[in-house]
Symmetry: C2
Subunit: 389 residues, 2 copies
């Protein structure tokens, strides 16, 4: 176990009807003038936005609205939000939605108190030291952004999808009502499960000894898979919705990465796909993760072997290490297929992707090498893209 | 899963040599005049106190010392600490030690800003609303107090051992260096493992549906048992020390209890034993926990059956539910014996305990009923004490 700092100060307010407490919670965390950020029409049509604005008004909290944030959120909306927050004198950013909305809110929170271009933090030019406080009402369990200090934004100029990770962006609170996720389209539920699983992969596949952390990470991964399959059959199962929602948070608040060297190659390889082809991040991961696993297992089999047995439930009796690994990866693909997702990039995008463009963009954003479980050259990444076709 | 709030804002600074960062961390959390609380001579003789006071002085942080805090900490030292903190104008309480030291520090932190008797919070007369900030350098992994809002203090007048739980007592930071625990006497390591296991028991044995939480709780319990047995053979194993230390924290920071009705009968039944006979809390739990499990399994077998299979590793093939449970509980007793602990109260105390006195004190402190997995009457508790003799 390496030295680490674990800091997850977010207050998670979890359960039925908790969104009714938004106003009082914003007030308790000192919010007085709120920039309310949300996505599409569904939050309006369901009555959630009305419920939230009423709960703000009840506390005499002023708010202005930035809406229409789309998946794979882009820098143009961030600039717009920063200008709006500064114009309105916003003191608190409230995100109502999933990862794209929360990440946009976080980027606005950084930019609104910075005398320069917020992108400086994403391209690594500056380190964040301050941000407006952010609160969250979560509607899509997936990105884990409600409990993380991360934000991922795509710059339209060049379609660079980059991220920042800093404790100043950890939300003050996250209101999480699993009931709100029952009306999600199945595709979003499925992509969410893939994304949270992969947040654990990025930490689990590591060369650091971590018996305790690996043990509870495996338990969380098994639960995500079982619960996602249950939801496919019965989308209104509250217990399964609740497990998936909490799993998405602890998959990414740092708990599964304590003391470990994290990898993150799979996410970075995927980010190029969703940035360039505007597909859902989780759907992209379902293609890239098995391809990445097959590639690294040939070079560093240990954790993939362990994953096959302890997470995918492969019975190792009478099998070689290679066979165990192969069975594990094919079970993972089967799981993605059972969710209704493809593991083929060509099928996902609807055409053969331009691998040169993906690799070139990856190299521009990430340099010559990425990942730690098996450090990958750009040629390795090209091979992974190819095997995911 | 019931509605819940999970709030664990403590910054955990974990790993080798981290105690050297005490001064800068106190400074970062706004500490200027520190009341330094610690226990026995071992912290002085090891050089730890010198290292910590030097690191405070380097940051120009003034400090005064309250030392000699003993296991099963008592209210007299709390009153002394409150008076000292007020006299010295302390703005920060720094605990260097295990649960007893941290709990004393927390009680002082409550009392120093309260215009009344700090015991009001422990006997339930008042609800805490404020406290001085508390920081921790942990030397004994056991109580989980470094990441909890709990404090347990014994009132000398009547030997009442009572607890308070409030977010205002969650430490601002906890510095956790597993190296510092390598020189612990084996008995303390063993009692610590029993205590942290039991912190999970209190949450695991519940009637609330909680597939995800049960899954990761089981993984943590299995790890604690495996690592404790490894440490018996090789007390210098850093990885095992690190796992045990982190497990002790997450066993009690709330993670294993989210959305569940918690029980806490075992702890309360034991508190009377350690309060009246001044034995180690963990050693008392090793007697009470199996007796409690046997009692509740007859009335509500489900979770004990699950525990036997998933944590104690009982192979259920061909066994009845009763046999599985019996095997599970006897394996747990074997584990305690392997740690070198007794599961007999008579052996622990060195004489037959006065069961009337234990039950009378329990009733005075807790009323007519305790626990939730199986609500216990005082007659039930008497039976549990008897079967633990």
């Amino acid at each position: 176990m390496d030295n680490f700092i674990f800091y997850s100060p977010t207050e998670f307010i979890f359960g039925k009807d908790t969104q009714k407490r938004t106003g009082e919670t914003v007030r308790r965390f000192g919010g007085e003038k709120v920039l309310l950020v949300y996505g599409g029409r569904s939050a309006e049509e369901s009555g959630l936005i009305k419920e939230i604005t009423e709960s703000l008004m009840k506390e005499d909290i002023e708010y202005s609205i930035l809406k229409g944030i789309k998946p794979n959120p882009t820098d143009d909306r961030v600039y717009e939000g920063i200008a709006q927050a500064m114009r309105e004198g916003s003191t608190f950013i409230l995100a109502v939605g999933g990862g794209s909305v929360i990440d946009t809110a976080k980027a606005i929170a950084l930019g609104a108190v910075y005398n320069g271009d917020f992108w400086d933090f994403f391209c690594g030019k500056e380190k964040p030291v301050a941000a407006l406080p952010v609160g969250v009402v979560l509607t899509i369990p997936a990105a884990g952004s409600e409990g993380s200090g991360n934000s991922v934004i795509t710059r339209l100029d060049g379609m660079h999808k980059l991220s920042v990770r800093t404790n100043v962006l950890r939300p003050r609170f996250a209101i999480m009502n699993p009931q709100l996720t029952m009306t999600l389209p199945w595709f979003q539920t499925a992509c969410g499960a893939v994304d949270m699983l992969c947040h654990i992969f990025e930490r689990y596949f590591s060369n650091t000894t971590a018996m305790l952390v690996n043990g509870y990470s495996e338990a969380i991964m098994r639960d995500i898979m079982a619960r996602a399959l249950e939801l496919k059959v019965n989308p209104d199962d509250y217990e399964a919705r609740a497990d998936i929602m909490w799993a998405g948070t602890i998959a990414h608040n740092g708990l599964c990465g304590v003391g470990k060297e994290e990898d993150w190659a799979t996410h970075r390889i995927e980010h190029e796909v969703s940035a360039i082809y505007d597909v859902a991040h989780g759907a992209g991961l379902a293609c890239i993760a098995p391809a990445w696993l097959s590639f690294v297992a040939k070079r560093n089999p240990d954790m993939v072997w362990r994953f096959a047995i302890n997470v995918m439930g492969v019975n190792p009796d009478g099998l070689t290490t290679e066979e165990i690994i192969e069975k594990g990866i094919s079970s993972l693909k089967d799981f993605y297929h059972d969710l209704g997702l493809t593991t083929s990039l060509t099928e996902l995008i609807g055409k053969t992707p331009d691998i040169d463009a993906l690799v070139n963009s990856l190299e521009t954003n990430m340099g010559k090498s990425l990942g730690f479980y098996v450090p990958l050259s750009m040629e390795d990444c090209r091979e992974i893209y190819k095997s995911a076709l």
